[in-house]
């Protein structure tokens, strides 16, 4: 039994709960009202926020609130088999769950009739692209000065056979054997145990879900620090320039 668990140790040499090195930078797209880059190891996402701006066509406007539109996609060369440009069903679904992940944190009521557009693109994909995208988008929203209840932090917790593992990379996502790979992307408020993204593929016992949420909470604390420091850095540079 002990031997078996040794075999499922991570190829990268990471500990089970150890995340890939993170990198974050705010203000990467000068044209945008807010923008950010976020990387988990070899997975790199960039996000731009445009708005609040007037929504066209006019009939889509909502006089009681602004709306949040999210678009997630992979650059065609970001994956091994070239991805055909343009939205796929997968990217449309991820766009939508990203919108749902961010919505609870944004105060749209202050901007009736407007739209906030969030554009997320993956430059380099090594699993965890939606979570990296959400982390980048959350920073970009803050950078755009949109009133937010909290930052959103996102991480994928997985299970390789019976081991719980934080921040799966692509080789781990393709793991075979035992109970197989399970990927459980989660997003939450940075400072509260409230979850805004829950998705899952694989096999997980209902009573293990709590442990997974606890692991995600721990990981999100680290992500939050990275996001906060990147946001601070951009403000400090601005002050220094003056």
């Amino acid at each position: 039994m002990a031997k078996e668990s040794k075999e499922t140790k991570r190829e990268s040499g990471r500990k089970l709960t150890e995340m890939r090195p993170m990198m974050a930078k705010v203000g990467v797209i000068p044209n945008a009202d807010g923008s950010a880059m976020f990387a988990f190891g070899n997975t790199v996402a960039i996000a731009a926020v445009y708005g609040p701006r007037q929504l066209h066509p006019q009939h889509m406007q909502n006089p009681s609130t602004g709306i949040l539109r999210c678009n997630y996609d992979l650059l065609s060369f970001s994956v091994a088999d070239r991805k055909k440009p343009g939205p796929s069903r997968r990217s449309q679904e991820i766009s939508k769950v990203t919108q749902w992940a961010l919505l609870p944190a944004v105060n749209l009521k202050e901007f009736p009739n407007t739209v906030i557009d969030v554009q997320i693109y993956i430059i380099q994909a090594d699993a965890g692209t939606r979570t990296a995208g959400i982390n980048a988008a959350s920073m970009a929203l803050a950078h755009a000065g949109i009133p937010m209840r909290d930052l959103i932090c996102s991480i994928s917790v997985g299970k390789l056979d019976k081991d719980l593992v934080v921040d799966l990379d692509k080789s781990e996502e393709d793991f075979e054997g035992g109970e197989g790979p399970t990927d459980f992307p989660i997003a939450k408020f940075a400072s509260k145990d409230e979850y805004t993204l829950l998705q899952l593929d694989g096999k997980i016992q209902p009573d293990v879900v709590k442990k997974i949420l606890d692991l995600a909470d721990e990981a999100c604390k680290e992500i939050y620090e990275v996001q906060k420091n990147a946001l601070k850095a951009v403000v400090e540079t601005k002050v220094a320039e003056k």
Binding site: R89, W100, P104, D193, L200, P206, K210
Partner: protein, 270 residues
């Protein structure tokens, strides 16, 4: 039934009733509506089923085609799930390219079934690396009164259970008039899907369309049994609010119970 949005008045009333564990149709929050199933509803299909959840009605059919395997699974058959929200089924549905709901529904059914391992795709190979069966599950809501995902998953499982593999003629094409035996399925595993909806601080199961529209968030779980253990196979949260950790734990406690309940009700079809 008009296609008007739910009024604020209705939402407030529902919020209050939910907090008292009450619903318009006198159910408790986690009670399911009566489930009725008919199998083999369309004889040209390899397998089919009709499912009623209260007034919600869904027809699901299974067709099989021969084709090349996917490059990343050369020794396995393929599974495809599609769905069409027919304007026949609701004033909400319109002709034209699929909206998000029409994309999400088959994807969630696909994941619940695929990840449970119910279909033994490795037994659907005709010529290794060249020719395999593709199992296509098509979902058609006939009357939408909420909980389409959960109803469609039941329909898909039962249609798979009665599906038979067509023959192959001399030139290597499918012979749909011949049957060569049941689709290879895991005996133990039949997934179901349970969607919890949230309004205010209350959670409900199996909402009617009106309740569904009033709710602020949804989380759908696919669950099955594997090696005698309950397994969550898929999950997707939607909507504009959050779920707390306490709520998620509560759902994890309820789901196995509900799984057993539905399993028991549908025993003779499984």
């Amino acid at each position: 039934m008009s296609s008007m949005n739910t009024s604020n008045l209705t939402i407030e009333t529902l919020k209050k009733m939910f907090s008292e564990n009450k619903r318009f149709d006198s159910r408790k929050l986690f009670d399911l509506r009566p489930i009725k199933v008919e199998s083999e509803v369309s004889n040209k299909a390899e397998g089919s089923a009709r499912v009623f959840l209260g007034k919600t009605e869904v027809i699901v059919g299974v067709k099989m085609q021969l084709g090349a395997p996917y490059p990343d699974s050369p020794d396995k058959g393929n599974l495809m799930v599609s769905g069409d929200l027919l304007p026949l089924a609701s004033p909400r549905f319109e002709m034209g390219p699929p909206g998000f709901e029409a994309i999400e529904l088959p994807r969630l059914v696909d994941r619940a079934i695929r990840e449970s391992g119910m279909i033994q795709l490795d037994k659907l190979v005709v010529t290794p690396k060249e020719k395999v069966w593709t199992v296509i599950i098509d979902i058609y809501p006939i009357n939408d009164d909420g909980s389409l995902i959960d109803a469609a998953t039941i329909g898909a499982v039962i249609a798979l259970k009665n599906a038979e593999i067509p023959g192959i003629d001399e030139s290597g094409n499918p012979d749909y008039d011949k049957k060569t035996g049941k689709l290879p399925l895991s005996k133990e595993t039949a997934p179901f899907s349970f969607s919890f909806f949230k309004l205010g601080d209350s959670l409900i199961l199996d909402p009617t369309r009106e309740e569904e529209e009033a709710c602020e968030a949804r989380v759908t779980f696919g669950i099955s049994k594997w090696n005698k253990q309950y397994m969550i196979n898929s999950c997707q949260k939607s909507g504009e609010t959050t779920f707390t950790k306490t709520e998620i734990e509560k759902m994890m406690n309820i789901i196995p119970e509900k799984f057993d309940e539905v399993n028991e009700k549908l025993k003779k079809f499984l």
